[in-house]
Subunit: 298 residues, 2 copies
């Protein structure tokens, strides 16, 4: 989940039960073949699939005598704002790296996974793939020559994510943003982001809550999200620390202290969203401190 | 010292040997009288002096049966970029608070000291008075209803400050700034500031160095500072972690790991600045973790 309110384009965190599952096998034939995609209609050609492109970038840096076959079971829908392309991009490079005997660290895999993001959105960005690979909260100080910093995740921090099943393309969500912003707003934003980072280090849940304010992006993107104001109000009224747009939307997230609070916030958001007659999913997730992992290996 | 490169208007830290000294006495007569100012020509009328205005703001919130007499020995010149008005504003409220038996915490004193800043610059801002009162690095998340966070100061962090003895008014330094900035630059800036905060928590000197980049303010203000490029180059070449404009200038600061490095950086900056034929002072300072303190009390 990227952006996290005041952390537009630099901050992200890893969700726990939400994600893609992938089966990756070594093959005698070199290169990468996507053999199957479940749960969504996505291109199978490796050069046209984010997982394929990310995997090929890794293999270019570390040529292998054998190839790889990938099956993808999509758990995150494209255009949801929960990092669908990042899940597949990061999954591919993580799995291939394991089968190669780990020539790269998790941090080094970011640069390859970013190639998948480039295919998906036009620019190679790390704010979604970094939390998948490193877990917890991550900060992308610089994406040009990737400089990614792992931040601590207070243990009682839970995310509530409401995902309306309508697609909002990242490119459309980008299009509503202005190229220029007021310096005054930028100062508020970086004050809040710096305070949020401080709150993560000191387990200061109140400070985390006070800092979850986005005066730059939210005012523009909120218009694209059905029920935005009601969802924010529902989250606040039911005790969330703060809330905002998940990624580029249309999903919304709230952060709460403790699982019980996150469930209560979810119930409140659910009630607020029912009147929109839009199908939706609701997720309650601890911040996943470890990131992507192996479910089973044979 | 406010701003600290990427932390424009929100970040600051407290210098050690540099500052004003003040003598504050209880008087039978109510109110505040500034009896003497050494080292600079500043108004003696309490309502027209930053120390007076700050002290009066405190007394309005906490009326006292007696009054106060203040002598100020200025160690910081107005218009230096090293927080001259903040030193006197914070000094007055700190001293008066002591003589009243500490009705306010150091954090609570910020709101009163900000009134002095308002007199000096037109807007009540906390980014200079907060480090004086709290010590170390401070972050002003919000200055409207002041929300100030104390950040840790890595113990080996030293500042080198070169202060050219020319005056640059904060209002003039403000005038060169544009009201709008590019979103892309803002993102770089808040990525760097968030990383700098992370570096302060983790004693990651390299990260602190990589994060001391200001792509928003420096490009405009650097033109007002004689020798800016040479001073930056001198600092970098001699091993500084990073450097930038101190406050709104004309002083320049560099941060280094260890006192020896800070002295070497200072020597290098001195050499670079000699050709400008502008009188200057050079300060080497540990980050002062405690802030303002009592020299002696009778």
């Amino acid at each position: 989940m990227a952006n996290v309110s005041c952390g537009f384009d630099v901050l992200g965190f890893c969700l726990d039960p939400i994600g893609d599952e992938m089966i990756i096998r070594k093959t005698a034939e070199k290169g990468i073949r996507i053999t199957k995609i479940e749960g969504q209609d996505l291109p199978l050609e490796a050069h046209n699939n984010v997982a394929g492109v990310a995997g090929l970038a890794l293999l270019e840096a570390h040529p292998s005598a054998f190839g790889f076959e990938i099956e993808i079971i999509k758990g995150i829908k494209a255009g949801s704002g929960i990092g669908s392309s990042a899940a597949s991009s990061a999954g591919a490079v993580f799995g291939i790296n394991e089968l190669l005997g780990r020539p790269f660290t998790r941090g080094e895999l970011i640069q390859f996974a970013m190639k998948g993001e480039e295919l998906a959105s036009g620019t190679p960005h790390a704010d979604n793939v970094a939390p998948v690979l490193l877990g917890g909260f991550t900060l992308v100080r610089c994406s040009k020559e990737p400089d990614v910093i792992g931040l601590p995740s207070p243990s009682e921090l839970y995310a509530t994510v409401l995902h309306p099943k309508i697609e909002l393309k990242t490119s459309d969500a980008r299009a509503v943003l202005k190229k220029n912003i007021m310096l005054e707003k930028a100062i508020q934003q970086w004050g809040n982001l710096a305070a949020l980072v401080s709150g993560l280090y000191t387990n200061d849940y109140d400070l985390i809550g006070r800092s979850l304010v986005d005066v730059v992006i939210e005012p523009h993107r909120s218009a694209l999200i059905p029920g935005f104001q009601e969802l924010k109000k529902a989250a606040t009224d039911s005790g969330a620390l703060g809330s905002g747009i998940s990624g580029s939307g249309p999903s919304m997230f709230a952060l709460s202290r403790g699982e019980a609070a996150a469930i209560r916030v979810g119930e409140s958001m659910r009630q607020a969203f029912l009147k929109y007659n839009i199908e939706f999913e609701l997720h309650i997730s601890k911040i996943n401190p470890k990131g992507i992992h192996i479910i089973s290996s044979k």
